[in-house]
Amino acid sequence: MKTTKTTIILHLIAWGVGVLWLLPFLGVFMASIRPYDEILHGWWILSPFTASLSSLAKAWTDPYYPLSRGLLNSFIVAVPSTIIPLFTGALAGYGFARFSFRIKSYLFLTTVLLMALPQQSVIIPLFQMMANLKLIDSYLSLVLVHSAWGLPWIILFMRNFFSTLPIEVEEAARVDGASDWKIFFRIVLPMALPALASVVVLQFMWVWNDFLLAKIFIYEESMYLATQRIEYVGREQFRVNWGVLSAASIIVMIVPILVYVLLQKYYVRGMIGWTVKG
């Protein structure tokens, strides 16, 4: 009897907190799918309730800062910034796991320090460097920096994963005459798919959600990434149009949230591997 009572209370608390945490998101969602007049006194007033796509459409096709273009630009940056460090990191991680043993503490230290250091510590020289290389207003600058910052943890993460794989399979393949490259691409990489998925999810989100680096490298308005457009969309002369701004927020956040929902398992695994175990 006592246990059921506690269980009920625990369930109530848990679900109550869940709803409480969801409310701000629900708020912007409601504001994005209802006409502006209906949210003037709070999105929680549900009568009248009219669903309308006009705010979303306005944010998507904004005359100056269309989010459609922002999403496209963000993909153009995020895809290579994920794939480049993924492959180089996996290759290096494999090398470190199989062919070298002394690198671990050095790699580990670099990774921890990099995770710790704020980007603010480096953006002044990076800006000057990119300006000298004429890479301001070029996505190459973003791809380079994101790849460089992603590599240490990806190498460490992949190294740790590869060292858990049984070496016997690879030895058997080698006896059959397979080259190192063939072993890596045909045998090791397929076994590493779950770890690669974790890397993709974490790195992609990191790049997609970045605002500061985009802000200091990209000044050409048509090249603005999705996160850069948020501060301009929905700002009218005398007021903030919360409908359009909410719609823009939903559009920008929907991509990482979809990635998270679809690949949740890999995200959490990657996250825990990267902080708890190091």
Partner: protein
């Protein structure tokens, strides 16, 4: 990697000692920045605001760290025995995958008069000062940001503690039950000591998050009103990219680097010892 990571860190330190014309300037940039009321506002100190970015970051840590740590731990423990807990966990974790720039917009909306839930709630209670737009008023702007960041970040400690809880064998709890230990004693004697190694990760990562905080300040208050919610990372960006004073910005960046090192070294030492 050396070129894009290590060199810029050293270059930042170097720049912080140069004058704007490129000559060695000793500590003059440092005295200038540390004497700036935007960084530490001694005259305002007992009263508020603005108190300066360094003080604001400290306030941020003092409120954000215990709140998000405690709620994450409590949630991890409660959710362990709850049906459908994975859904609740996912909801709380959305804050971690939301771009911070969007997180800033959402918290601003939630704290806006008439439009947002928090202000409406205080209006209902009749607390007039708190029913106004928090991010537009000097007394509340910083707190709107801090509470918003608790909402966004609690998912982190919850996930870490949940992973820790999953490694504690069920037998320990069964044994405790047989010995007649109540829930509080079980927590104090079994759960808490076994989760202790995780505290250092949660504390370090949370302080680092608070030191780096930039996006939500930029978008929700722009450090205002009247610098009432400015933080170090934001002042650094202002110096470097608004006031075109790269040397001043390098000073703040170097200070941030030193602070992160101070925070991180205990974690590194702990991990190396293991």
């Amino acid at each position: 990697m050396l070129f894009l990571v290590v060199y810029p860190i050293l270059q930042t330190v170097y720049l912080s000692f140069l004058s704007s014309s490129g000559e060695f300037a000793g500590l003059s940039n440092y005295s200038e920045i540390l004497g700036d009321t935007d960084i530490v506002n001694v005259a305002h100190f007992p009263k508020w605001p603005p108190l300066g970015a360094l003080v604001h970051n400290t306030i941020w840590i003092l409120i954000h760290l215990p709140l998000s740590m405690f709620s994450g731990l409590a949630l991890a423990i409660i959710l362990r025995d709850v049906k459908g807990s994975s859904i609740v966990k996912s909801i709380i974790f959305i804050g971690m995958v939301t771009p911070l720039i969007v997180g800033g917009i959402i918290l601003q909306y939630t704290f806006t008069e008439r439009f947002g839930l928090v202000t409406a709630f205080f209006d209902l209670l009749g607390v007039e000062e708190l029913s106004r737009t928090w991010t537009a008023l000097p007394n509340t702007a910083l707190f709107a940001l801090v509470f918003g960041s608790v909402w966004l970040w609690t998912g982190f400690s919850m996930i870490i503690y949940s992973a820790g809880l999953a490694t504690i064998p069920k037998e320990y709890y069964e044994a405790a039950k047989i010995d007649g230990a109540g829930p509080f004693k079980t927590f104090k004697r079994i759960t808490f000591p076994l989760l202790r190694p995780l505290n250092i990760t949660v504390i370090t990562m949370t302080i680092l998050y608070d030191l780096k905080i930039f996006d939500i300040v930029y978008v929700a208050t722009f450090g205002g009103p009247g610098k009432a919610s400015t933080v170090l990372a934001f002042e650094m960006w202002l110096q470097g990219f608004r006031y075109f004073n790269p040397n001043g910005a390098a000073v703040i960046a170097t200070l941030l680097t030193l602070l992160t090192l101070v925070v991180t070294i205990p974690m590194i030492r702990y991990m190396v010892r293991r």
